[in-house]
Structure formats: structure tokens, C-alpha cells
């Protein structure tokens, strides 16, 4: 009789192989560095030597970038760099929290659908299809509109809109893991559902969920910026990259720097998450082993 290897035992070896592959991918490393830079900026915002993001200076309205204001000032004399640094908190928080909402709701539903099958699967799958039918941003706009405009509601709206992707992914992965020999034998020795899911299913469906979560953070950051740009996310005077662009579009001729820097920040951080997500996908791809 062939011995069944416990997948948990091979985990450290697998992790070091994934890490090695990730380190050998320069694009993923650049992506990771960009993400770390923005996270550090967001966390260090309170201790950085910059003016308060809401401090106005009527003597310095729409000033071009200078030594005093590296990224210039906005229409009421607020420092653009300071608003961008504090705006990074809103953007990254929105990205992470909304994906956490999507994962925490989507993965249990997906695992339940894949594990239980039958009517549970049919009901969850139909619900997922219905949610996927509305385009991501239109659904998020509609939810944000009905919930009311605020950063918290934008995060809930984005999280709920992103949830179906995780339901589908977790369902498909669970169904695939369920056919593995080690799950079969664990079931045969009478392991309870909770232990089976916690010990065998969740650890094995984790890698693709992690890749999808990284890529969805990028989408969620753009979605938050889009909602804030439309006035449905972070409310003024609190800074956010999207709402800064919303104001900046009215002063394009007089103060182009107001639009240039916040947009470039969104682009860079989203590119960072996309590069990192792509790198993680390549590193975790079992076909390359």
C-alpha cells in the first residue's frame, strides 16, 4: 500500500521553493518594492516632516512645485505631497479592507459550494452568476449610492462586488482538492468536516486565493479611486487620490501638477500589486515544478 504524504509536512520545502522563484523574478521584486514603499509611506505619514493634509495657506494657492512644496499646492493652498501621503492610507486601506471583505465572505461560500455540492452548490453558483452579471464598477457605484457616500461604504461596496470572484475560485479549487488521494484517505479514516476543511482544504486552496487577492487589491485601489473621483468614496476635506483628481480636473490649465502626482501614485501602486501578483502566480504555478 502506498503511504499518503501529509501535504502539511512538505509545506516548508514548498515555501522555500516559491520564495526562490519569486526572488529570481526581477519584475515581481520591483512590484514588491513599490508596494512596500507605499505601505511604509502610508504608515509613516504621522511622523513625516510634512504639513497637515488639511492645512490651508491662502497665500500659497495653486503654487507650482518648489522647495517649500515639492509637489505644489492645491486650489486652497494645501500641500499636494502631504495630501498624497495621507491619501495613500485611504487607498491602501480601501484596497486591503475591501479584499478582506471579499475573501472572508467569498471563500467560505465557495468552499461550502465545492464541498457540499448538490443544492447548496446550485444555489451559491446561481447567486454568484447573478452578481457577476453586473459589471464590477457599476455594481460598486450602485451599492455605494444606496449605502451612502463614505470611504467605509465604498469599501463595503467594493468588497461585495469583488466577492463573486473568490466564491468561484474557492469553489473550483475545493472541488479539485476533494479529488486528491489525501482528502479521500482523511475522509476514510473518519475525519470530521471542520478538521478536513481546516487541515487539508484551506491550506491547499490558499496559494491561488493569495494570487487572486493580490491582483484584486490592485483592482480595488482603482475602484476606490474611481468612486472617490465620482464623489462616492472618501469625503472632503479628508484626502484620497481619487478625490484629489476630481478637484484637479477643474484646474488642468492653471495647476496641472494637482492631477499629475496623485494619478501617478495610483498608477505606480496598482502596477506594483499587478507585478507582484503576476510574480506570485508564476512562482505558485504547479506546471512549472
Amino acid at each position: 500500500m502506498t503511504a499518503i504524504t501529509d501535504p502539511a509536512a512538505t509545506l516548508p520545502k514548498k515555501q522555500s521553493r516559491i520564495w526562490r522563484k519569486l526572488r529570481a523574478n526581477p519584475a515581481a521584486l520591483i512590484g514588491g518594492a513599490v508596494v512596500i514603499f507605499f505601505v511604509a509611506v502610508a504608515l509613516l505619514a504621522p511622523v513625516l516632516p510634512i504639513p497637515a493634509p488639511t492645512a490651508t495657506d491662502w497665500a500659497a494657492v495653486r503654487q507650482a512645485p518648489s522647495a517649500a512644496h515639492m509637489f505644489g499646492t492645491d486650489e486652497i493652498g494645501r500641500d499636494v505631497l502631504s495630501r498624497m501621503v495621507w491619501g495613500a492610507q485611504a487607498s491602501l486601506l480601501a484596497g486591503v479592507v475591501s479584499v478582506a471583505i471579499a475573501v472572508c465572505l467569498g471563500v467560505p461560500l465557495g468552499v461550502a459550494a465545492g464541498y457540499l455540492g448538490g443544492w447548496t452548490d446550485a444555489a451559491i453558483s446561481r447567486m454568484t452568476e447573478a452578481l457577476l452579471a453586473a459589471p464590477f464598477l457599476i455594481l460598486a457605484i450602485a451599492l455605494a449610492a444606496f449605502l451612502g457616500p463614505s470611504l467605509t461604504n465604498a469599501m463595503i461596496a467594493i468588497g461585495l462586488s469583488a466577492m463573486p470572484i473568490f466564491i468561484r475560485l474557492a469553489r473550483a479549487q475545493t472541488m479539485s482538492v476533494m479529488t486528491e488521494d489525501y482528502v479521500e484517505s482523511a475522509r476514510a479514516v473518519g475525519l470530521k468536516t471542520g478538521a478536513l476543511v481546516g487541515r487539508y482544504i484551506l491550506p491547499n486552496i490558499f496559494p491561488p486565493i493569495l494570487v487572486q487577492a493580490t491582483l484584486t487589491i490592485a483592482t480595488a485601489i482603482i475602484a476606490e479611486a474611481s468612486l472617490s473621483f465620482l464623489g462616492l468614496g472618501q469625503q472632503p476635506p479628508a484626502p484620497s487620490w481619487g478625490s484629489m483628481l476630481n478637484i484637479a480636473k477643474n484646474f488642468l490649465e492653471q495647476a496641472p501638477w494637482m492631477a499629475l502626482y496623485p494619478g501617478a501614485a495610483i498608477f505606480l501602486v496598482v502596477l506594483g500589486f499587478n507585478l507582484l501578483g503576476d510574480g506570485l502566480r508564476d512562482a505558485l504555478d504547479p506546471r512549472d515544478h
Binding site: A133, A134, S226, F229, L230, E253, F267, L271, N274
Partner: protein
């Protein structure tokens, strides 16, 4: 094929019913009494009671749903609070503008994405492939509303080549209409081009490994013929499917693009409705896009079967 379409339509029915339940449930998310939101400043109890009766808000929720869906099935999605027009009429009025924008964006995306994907796959591992991949990933990462703002700054403000706004319907002045839509269509098409490029590259890479490509080359056919007539033709199957499925992205992108370039289309309608608390319009739009998306999925499946002979008899 007809039996296949019929079967798919039957499967779509429960999904459409669920979409309608979601859309109906949206209004239940409204904090507080929806009648107070509708009445605005007027808090006269008689007016509030009249509105409650009119919108059947005194009925149990399931009864309210069946009343709402019954009307929707007859094409009555309610009346816009802002313009007093029927919602369906309003959507039908704005839709051609967005369709023009989406078609132009798709043409631009196909013109950029497919050749770039073919070239990138053909030159795999070279600097051309590397640059094409970086450009595609950048296209996916750039927020299209920022790209729109930057394009206005460069093309309209600095160079004065194209207008930043001033939409003209195609039927009135085709040339001016194309001029005003060119920049928004480019902005909207960028992310789609990036997605298409990645899918084309991946489809071409798998086709280029096939035996029939080796045979075509062995026969001494010109590389261009092998690439276009043999490889691309077969790689087109997944590309066509993906293009059909990009409909949702086009519509979502149109919301922001129309806002930046002040184009009076479907996207601008939804944003205006949100800010005017015109909830019937928001619900109508979500319902219509959801149903349209299901039909685009069906179209993708049909296209896939038509293009892939092996699928036809299954």
C-alpha cells in the same frame, strides 16, 4: 445549435430572476424611510402616506417585489424623479451614445491589442516581447480617468489637436462626432487593448507550438502566411470569446470616461442618477446591464461553438 441556445436561455432564467431580486433589494439598503428621501423637504404626513400607497410600500416585501417585477416585465422600470421620463425611455435615449463610444474603443483596442499580442508571441523572450508586456501591464494599471485627464492636458490644452468635450451625435455631424469621440475611445480602449494583447499572446503561444504550424513551415510557406493564415486564425477562437466578455469592462469604463469628457451617455446617466438620488434609474441601469451581460455571455458561447468545429456536435 438552436437546441443549445434554447438550453442556455433556460439556464439564464434563474440567474435573471436572482439579478432582479438583487436590484429590488438595493432600494431596501437605503438608510431610513425611502419615502422621506423621495419627499425631500416636504414632510407633510398626507404626502408621505400618498407616496407610501403609490409605491405600495405598505405591502409586504415579497408583494412589493412581485409588483415591481411585473411592471419591469411590461417594460415599466419606473419614472425618473429628475426628468419625469420613463426609465426605459431614458436608457434607450442614452444607449446609442455609449454604444458609439464602446464600438470605437473596441476597434482601437483590437487594432492595438491583437497585432501587439501576435508580435509579442512571435518574438517571445526578445526585447519586443518584454516591452509589449510592460506596456500591456501599464495599460491595465493606469486608471482610465487619470489617463483621460492627462490626454486632455496634452492633446487638448497643450497641443490643441482634439476637443476635450462637446459631443455631437453621429447622425448630425459624423466627422465632428468622430473627432469628439476619438480621445475618449482611445482612453477607454487602452485597458481593453492590454487585456486583448495578453490573451492574444497566450493563445498565439499555444498555437505556435502545434504540429500543423511546424508542417506549414516545413512546406516552405512564407512566415507571414504561417503567422496570419494558420496561427492567428486558430488563435482567434479564444480572442473572439474574450472580446465578447469584455462588454462589462467597456460599460464600467464608459461611466468614468463619459464623466471626464462630458459625453451624455449611459455612464453619465448613472452618475447623474446617483447624485440626484434617482434610484429608479440606478436600479433600471443595473438590471439592464445585468441582463445584457448574460446575453453577451450567451453570444460568447455561440461564437465559440461557431468558430470551434469540435464543439459544434457536443
Amino acid at each position: 445549435m438552436l437546441a443549445f441556445i434554447g438550453r442556455r436561455l433556460l439556464i439564464a432564467i434563474p440567474t435573471i430572476i436572482l439579478i432582479s431580486v438583487f436590484v429590488f433589494a438595493l432600494q431596501k439598503l437605503l438608510p431610513g424611510d425611502p419615502v422621506l428621501a423621495m419627499a425631500g423637504e416636504d414632510r407633510n404626513p398626507e404626502v408621505l402616506e400618498y407616496l407610501r400607497e403609490k409605491y405600495r410600500l405598505n405591502d409586504p416585501v415579497p408583494v412589493q417585489y412581485f409588483h415591481w417585477i411585473g411592471n419591469a416585465l411590461r417594460g415599466d422600470l419606473g419614472i425618473s424623479l429628475r426628468t419625469n421620463q420613463p426609465v426605459l425611455e431614458l436608457i434607450a435615449e442614452k444607449l446609442p451614445v455609449t454604444i458609439q463610444l464602446a464600438v470605437m474603443a473596441l476597434v482601437i483596442a483590437l487594432a492595438i491589442g491583437v497585432p501587439a499580442g501576435v508580435l509579442s508571441a512571435y518574438k517571445k523572450g526578445t526585447w519586443i516581447d518584454w516591452i509589449a508586456n510592460i506596456v500591456a501591464l501599464s495599460g491595465l494599471s493606469v486608471p482610465n480617468f487619470w489617463l483621460g485627464i492627462m490626454m486632455i492636458l496634452l492633446v487638448s490644452v497643450q497641443l490643441g489637436w482634439l476637443p476635450a468635450s462637446g459631443y455631437r451625435p453621429f447622425s448630425e455631424d459624423p466627422l465632428q462626432s468622430l473627432r469628439t469621440m476619438l480621445m475618449p475611445a482611445f482612453v477607454l480602449g487602452t485597458a481593453i487593448a492590454a487585456t486583448l494583447m495578453r490573451h492574444t499572446r497566450s493563445a498565439m503561444l499555444s498555437v505556435l507550438k502545434s504540429d500543423y504550424i511546424r508542417t506549414a513551415r516545413a512546406k516552405g510557406l512564407a512566415e507571414r502566411v504561417v503567422l496570419v493564415k494558420h496561427a492567428l486564425r486558430n488563435a482567434l477562437v479564444p480572442i473572439v470569446t474574450v472580446t465578447t466578455l469584455l462588454f462589462g469592462e467597456l460599460l464600467a469604463g464608459a461611466v468614468l470616461t463619459e464623466q471626464i469628457f462630458t459625453i451624455p451617455g449611459f455612464g453619465k446617466l448613472v452618475v447623474d442618477a446617483v447624485f440626484n438620488r434617482d434610484y429608479a434609474v440606478v436600479q433600471g441601469i443595473v438590471l439592464c446591464t445585468g441582463i445584457a451581460f448574460i446575453f453577451m455571455n450567451l453570444l460568447a458561447d455561440v461564437a465559440y461553438r461557431i468558430l470551434n468545429p469540435r464543439m459544434r456536435d457536443q
